[in-house]
Symmetry: C2
Subunit: 456 residues, 2 copies
């Protein structure tokens, strides 16, 4: 039997299996879901064994576990390591979901569930691609290692140590990441860069409890006032980050890079309509594509303090807090940026309250790979066959920590080869994955491994 | 029987009744408690009938109801209207309460419950004082009207219309308010002024839902950024309100007023220790007492937006919002201040989001009464007999909307005669009321009515 026929014959089973996988609420950010993340890892490990991989193990990291598997035939063959993650983002605001996030439903050939697009659907494709090859021909064109993690959505805090301690196990000639996007169902892309990521929380503590604003308003510092003074100071009114030193090491795009980005489809007014905002907004001097892909940002992702119920409550609140996520550009050192922000917070701390900064682990530098690397050329060829159209060269504003980590620790680049799309509500309510992307992913992975056997 | 003996003999029953009253969760700010507010009003009406008042009625206002009752003997007697409120503040943060807020418990002669001190305990005293006089002597020394409301904690939005439409019913020579504070169990005061109150909410709307900050961070305005830009602009770093025109009409204190306030006990470092803040903080040029009692303030009482769960979520949030309460000084016009803040918000609105302001009803101007008014002289005499110490003249930073309203609409002043203390966690978790304050309140109201019969 040809692998193509095997995939076609087993399609219904694959979809049923994917739904089972999506039922596991493997939210890595919430400790109550720790066991669920482990269950998702176990599901992946079992599925790899079923696919015909004989060396499969779930390994501890000190945090959420990883799943490793390999199929090594000959020392002479090049080795490709396939990466993905089985953890998901949190689900709230829950009231905006049309169906429960961990009760997957299929509507119009799309499967709706948290994690469907990011990254369970994508992760599933190479497993089944390898299964199809092993069950039909009994072998693979290259040595394959699988490395799937359960902490991508929290910035992979334990992975730097894990990868450093397992260099031999993970050694390979190229990484292929099954976590990422294509431009549209009609237009593929080769993703050559990601922004880095670092996060921190600011906690402002005032009086020991909420106090009557009639009695203490004007007498003591209000923690929300002190917090918003810090938060508002992070940007100027044009949208530039106003933290001293923030932009110091940012690599400015070359004319060639700006040309590549300008070739990407982008209708600003259409995007504003789609997002339902009055207009796009951001750092002057850069296009919307540049701002979203290669310029660093500082976003306040959450803020809370005081009374949040119905109506009004006249208090000076006890505390207030905010969560900050920075996306980092090429050449920015996450530790240096973190230090600059910490200094900025201290400089903007008002009297009368205590300000604590919780610097989150899992800082990640930006990732950038030559667009003409043999791995990218191979991927581009396969994508052209899958979509009937040559891919554009692209940069993504999101963060895939493992790309920078593998480059720094193992000295290998990561080719990004995944089949999600921006409209699939990644990190948002009603996340979904197109079933046709499972087909493309499965065929694509067989073709890519065959192609890499030739070029590596 | 003397009224003193009647009160002593019925003390246990009064405490049991007060506990029943405190079990009703009459939170006026939350629509789910609308029926509870009404039930609290019904409890008060029933209790007034039981006390011997023969004309008692609960009256609709368009919002939460009011309870009116009277005992009118002779046209020649002066008429005193006694005021209080049977609604309470919300209860959150619930986790900081040692016992459920609406399951009152007595510990060390204090009753702990939401509303115990503000204002159910105080409201109960004059009802039972009148009962003691009617049951022992069959009459009262003055005509008495009771007027108890159920919307004080939300700024009494329907009361201006109600009072204007019921001028004859409410007509009187003096109002006595059973809502307020004494300085300490050892030191009484005569409260001659309150700050005014106005509230608004700011809602900033960005994209239609939370979006991935890797994909859209830097591309669109973040609603939290736009909100904190507005919020931080409300004050300068010294704590002055930076809204143009905010201080325009504020009456500066006279040397005599500053002397009266300086005579009030205040140890700034002790207060800071009690509140558990590093230091007091506020508008330069004014003492802490002045800042808390007679200077206007703008407090952000609540803020929220984006992800508030555990860990970090990389999003550009869909929306963010804040709640603002201003305490107003003498001569400030609430409508003018509200207009100035609305203009300020428009001036500090950044592009890329929609900003809506919800101006809350129930704006109240500040209240100020001559300290040597006959009503205050009478109250001072009674307080001196109750405490064994002459009262200090004081101003309170809180707001009792009805004082300004009665002055403007009925042309009568309100003497403040109540027995709560600042340490009783008004508006905070673990609110409590001292049982000895019930005794003082009961005796005090009998003595005050007798005294007012002489001076009015």
């Amino acid at each position: 039997m040809e692998w193509q026929d095997y995939l076609t014959q087993n399609r219904d089973r694959y979809i049923a299996e994917m739904l089972e996988f999506l039922k596991i609420p493997s939210i890595s950010a919430q400790s109550e879901h720790e066991t669920d993340v482990k269950m998702a890892g176990q599901w992946v490990a079992d599925r790899l064994k079923q696919a015909g991989l004989n060396h499969v193990e779930m390994m501890p990291t000190g945090g959420h576990p990883v799943v490793y598997a390999d199929w090594i035939q000959e020392d002479g063959l090049p080795t490709v390591l396939i990466y993905g993650h089985f953890d998901t983002q949190p689900v709230d605001p829950l009231d905006l979901w049309d169906s429960p996030p961990f009760e997957p439903v299929i509507k119009q050939d799309r499967v709706f569930a948290r994690g469907a697009s990011d990254d369970k659907g994508n992760l599933f494709s190479p497993i089944t691609a390898v299964e199809a090859m092993l069950k039909t021909s009994g072998k693979l064109p290259v040595n394959v290692k699988f490395f799937f993690e359960g902490q991508e959505e929290i910035g992979s805090p334990q992975l730097p140590d894990f990868v450093a301690q397992n260099k031999t196990l993970l050694a390979c000639d190229l990484v292929v990441s099954a976590d990422g996007l294509q431009l549209s169902p009609d237009q593929p892309k080769v993703e050559i860069g990601f922004r880095g990521n670092m996060a921190l929380e600011i906690r402002v503590t005032g009086p020991s409890k909420d106090y009557h604003s009639g009695l203490y308003g004007g007498v003591i510092q209000n923690p929300i006032h002190a917090l918003t003074h810090i938060l508002a100071s992070f940007h100027d009114t044009d949208g530039r980050v106003a933290v001293t030193g923030f932009y110091d090491d940012v690599r400015e795009p070359t004319p060639e890079e700006r040309q590549q980005l300008a070739a990407l489809p982008m209708d600003e007014s259409e995007l504003a309509t789609h997002l339902q905002v009055p207009e796009l907004f951001g750092e002057p001097g850069y296009t919307a594509v540049e701002r979203g892909a290669i310029r660093p940002t500082l976003e306040i992702c959450g803020v809370e303090g005081g009374y949040q119920g119905e109506g009004i409550k006249g208090i000076v609140p006890a505390k207030a807090q905010a969560k900050i996520v920075c996306r980092l550009a090429a050449d920015q050192d996450p530790e240096k940026v973190s230090a600059a922000i910490n200094t900025h917070i201290r400089n903007f701390t008002l009297p009368g309250v205590r300000v604590d900064v919780i610097n989150r682990d899992g800082k990640v530098g930006a990732y950038l790979m030559p667009h003409d690397h043999p791995g990218n050329i191979a991927a581009a060829g396969v994508l052209e066959r899958l979509y009937g159209k040559a891919p554009l060269i692209s940069r993504c504003g999101g963060t895939i920590p493992i790309c920078s980590l593998f480059l720094e620790t193992l000295g290998v680049y990561t080719v990004n080869f995944a089949f999600s799309y921006e409209d699939e509500n990644l990190h948002s309510p009603n996340e979904f994955f197109r079933l046709e992307s499972l087909d493309r992913g499965q065929r694509g992975y067989v073709m890519l491994l065959e192609e890499l056997a030739r070029v590596l």
